[in-house]
Assembly symmetry: C2
Homo-oligomer: 227 residues x 2
């Protein structure tokens, strides 16, 4: 049984986009897995303190800590299960999208989701989260949140390249979902699981694709609190 460690809030909500990437990959590979919840105070205790962030995956003796490396590992370790890739091009696309999400989508998403993230965290994590964000952005998280309407607009503009593909195709790279889909999906899933569910407008092909991703694996991603 594969085990992953995941940042978890109240009501068992798993809210790390990088963990969601791995959850989708594990479903795609048809693997049984167990999710071990951690919070900011216990993240350093994972696997004897070898990691500073989640996800962390343990599979027998193997312990890995980067979401993309984890997906590559799953692909190699379980070659008979459905493939997450379709050739080298899909790897490049997934890698491009990972950086695209991190550098172009996460900044607006971090503002859009800030209050909801705070509110779903355990109380012990809220003070840490608040201090870290307020240090990074130089303002209270309440002041950050006032920028959310503007950041929603920016987010929708930054989704244009995805939209250009999804206007013509049901999935980003192939005829069926592959890792490029899960990478991009997980960024938006982050907002969704903490309760911000109206960032994509009706009629947007990105919204329809997001719903298709949530329908996969018997609607696994419609549960913000898998265990």
């Amino acid at each position: 049984m594969v085990t992953i460690y995941s940042l978890c809030g109240k009501d068992g909500i798993h809210y790390s986009p990088h963990v969601w990437k791995v959850i989708m990959a594990l479903h795609h590979k048809q693997l049984n897995f167990k999710i071990i919840p951690v919070d900011f105070s216990t993240i350093r205790e994972i696997e004897n303190g070898a990691f500073k962030s989640v996800p962390v995956l343990r599979d027998g003796d193997r312990v890995l800590g980067d979401s993309f490396e984890i997906c590559e590992y799953l692909e190699t370790a379980y070659p008979d299960a459905p493939s997450l890739f379709d050739g080298e091009g899909s790897r490049r696309m997934a890698r491009f999208l990972e950086s695209y999400c991190l550098t172009q989508l996460h900044p607006p998403l971090a503002v859009i989701a800030v209050m909801n993230m705070h509110n779903i965290m355990h109380e012990s994590d809220q003070a840490y989260f608040r201090a870290k964000r307020e240090e990074r952005f130089g303002m209270s998280i309440e002041a950050m949140a006032e920028g959310a309407p503007e950041q929603r607009k920016i987010l929708r503009e930054r989704l244009a390249p995805l939209r250009a593909i999804l206007n013509d195709h049901p999935w980003i790279y192939g005829d069926t979902p592959l890792l490029p889909d899960y990478v991009a999906f997980s960024a938006l899933q982050w907002c969704w699981v903490v309760g911000v569910r109206d960032v994509l407008e009706e009629g947007d092909s990105v919204r329809a694709w997001f719903a298709r991703c949530q329908d996969l694996f018997e609607g696994a991603a419609r549960n913000p609190a898998p265990h």
Copy 2:
């Protein structure tokens, strides 16, 4: 002989990124071609007024006006020449990059290049260009240009997804250059041909890749004024 119409400034400089996409594709397909220079006042006269923008391509009886459609046409019409694509994935990647360039890179590039663009234009085009830009941005082009240092910083951040690939691979999609490379290259070539040649920093893998693109086809793209 294939003919393309291209926006052209003083000294024969061709400064449309969309035209450069097609120039690179034509070289890749090893086709002889002729470039017919136009300016803003004559663009409406191309092929009896059927087009509002460049590039426009004429190949025998076929006349086409969108750079991506032109590349798709060249691929289909000249199947024995080297392919611009490597399967459906490379089409998706090229399409994604086209939208990524248009929506994420062109806005900062438009500010970074504004004064140089103006200055390389024929005088008859300068007034039209100035009026259009000042209407769109609500300020003089000189005031726009004051934002260039900030926009250079934004541009470098927005190149992160390309950098993520180019740190590990010489070309964006394949082992050799393909349309995804030419699409992304052409956005940056726009700045280069008008004389802004220092936007990419030493040591940046995007800069090294840009130079490799310029080396292709006997350094064709090192000449801002092909004819």
